[in-house]
Symmetry: C2
Subunit: 132 residues, 2 copies
């Protein structure tokens, strides 16, 4: 069912410093910061040849990343995202397997339907599935 690793999302306390360490020290192709108010984050994409890293920083009062940074002030991997052909079908199948699917499919940061799987069912790793 799962296909490509779409992205690894890393929550960072200082977006500019994080972007600079990927751009400068690591020499990666790094895009400009992009506010995504609907998702409560500002995102910087690090474009790699086979996938991307998303640097996430809280935006607004109700950001899903704020609590994570309170628990992990230095930052850390927030979630991992895999592509699936059909998110609604994936949700049905995974719930039938007893896994907790967080919320109904919603339109994610890339304009495609996504779901999240509870970290407790995924070895402590918040896991996003995005319709490819």
């Amino acid at each position: 069912m799962i296909g490509r690793l779409n992205h690894v999302a890393i929550a960072v306390p200082d977006l500019e410093a994080a972007a600079e360490s990927y751009r400068g020290a690591l020499g990666a192709r790094v895009g400009p910061p992009r506010d995504e108010p609907a998702h409560g984050v500002t995102v910087v994409f690090v474009e790699l040849p086979n996938t991307k890293v998303e640097l996430l920083h809280p935006l607004g009062a109700d950001s899903p990343v704020a609590g994570f940074l309170e628990r992990n002030p230095a930052g850390g991997v927030h979630h991992v995202c895999y592509e699936v052909p059909d998110v609604a079908e994936a949700a049905r199948k995974l719930e039938a397997e007893g896994m907790r699917v967080l919320g109904p499919p919603e339109v994610g940061a890339h304009g495609r339907p996504v779901i999240f799987l509870h970290p407790k069912d995924m070895q402590g790793t918040l896991t996003e599935l995005e319709e490819a």
Copy 2:
């Protein structure tokens, strides 16, 4: 400098259960467990079309993953690995930028030289660089 995302490594408390959730519920191609005594881990590879996920479980008394699982009993992302053309050159460049490179280049789990960057210099994310 950095190229492909070589792998995401997830430390897991129960390797068989983790492998089964990727193989069964998520429908991924999952290899057999492989002991790597030199690195203190047993590894299961989840092969994705563009990269891989490595499920890590402690092996032996002095595993680098054991402390992580004590702090994160449910498991979690242990490190992220990017490919570089020359690990020794990368280490020199990154140290010149003031980043902490953990240990001299050593031969990693894939038989190639690797270094690790300190999580404090990488937004809380332990980062491996592997010579491609």
